[in-house]
Symmetry: C2
Subunit: 194 residues, 2 copies
């Protein structure tokens, strides 16, 4: 789904790697991830799924990023750097996406989403906590790991660069804002249409 | 913290790998992950953290599992198998832990946790959804990936084997129950004290 940050990660990696791909739009808002046909592709009923030419299906956006980039400069050959990249991928899925992505969803796409004020407020606090951890880490840095663009940046960029749609502001996070502009200006980098 | 599933993963991997380690107990219930001293170790204020002899700190339980096992039989040398293992690690952190671990926390450890009935009910539904995905995957299988014990099993075992403390039952999930018994009987495998 084009407006999904998790799907945006995969499109970004494929474009940066100059790989050919076919994009099949699946809309969660129309229940298209819950059909029996889709559940054969991913029993967990979530997008994105990477389908290989031999029919293999790979779900989980951050596992797909690993699959596509393990042997490229977007990952690393060094064990500690690899671990740091994975650290940020797990941080993204546990401490960032459930709050930053969900508030964007509620405020921009969900029917009656803005009525969930206690959920929005709680997610706002936790999303800002994630941005605060990112802010401290990015002091004096241009990228998350190894001072070059890796899938750690691609994963965190996905929902961060559209976080304002979920009511977040980067006024208090100048390092995050600088990093976002830095990633945005990377050759061939793409944004989610807004 | 001994009763934490995320910490249990690390202890399990270290024991299975015959690695020497020192266990430093940090109790979230006493606010010990929010002190300025601890935040220097992990700015995200979470346990576990793996501290290397040179002072390097590695947070995020599933990233630590990767660091400890990348070059051992508990991971894999094959790209697709590696990706499948990571898939289940991301599944664990996004679709399993936030519901299965949190309900155990609320029912067994948190003051007044049992009063959060709407949270408990929602997490119960989502936790059972995770067990249902695991149940289907484990049909005819003894382990999650490659028919041998990997960190995918270690990560999913951590909170699954104590899920009954959070009100979950495996009566409807015979494959998950068989897998739990299978993992439990693995040489040197440990359980969380109850």
């Amino acid at each position: 789904m084009t407006v999904s940050g998790n799907c945006h990660k995969i499109r970004t990696a494929l474009i940066l790697l100059d790989q050919q791909f076919e994009w099949i739009e699946v809309d969660t808002r129309k229940g298209e991830t819950k059909t029996s046909e889709f559940l054969k592709i991913n029993p967990n009923g979530k997008i994105p799924v990477l389908q290989l030419e031999d029919g293999t299906n790979i779900p989980e956006s951050n596992a797909i990023l690993y699959y596509l980039t393990r042997d490229t400069p977007l990952f690393s050959k060094d064990l500690l750097e690899q671990t740091r990249i994975l650290e940020w991928l797990f941080f993204e899925q546990y401490s960032h996406e459930p709050f930053v992505a969900v508030n964007r969803w509620l405020m921009k796409y969900a029917a009656d989403g803005r009525e969930n004020s206690s959920v929005l407020e709680n997610n706002h606090i936790k999303g800002n906590k994630a941005f605060s951890v990112m802010e401290d880490h990015l002091r004096g840095k241009n990228f998350f790991v190894g001072e070059r663009l890796t899938i750690a940046d691609i994963a965190l960029y996905a929902y961060s660069h559209v976080a304002e749609d979920g009511g977040f502001s980067f006024d208090g996070f100048p390092n995050v804002r600088r990093w976002l502009e830095n990633v945005r200006s990377f050759p061939k980098m793409i944004s989610i249409p807004r």
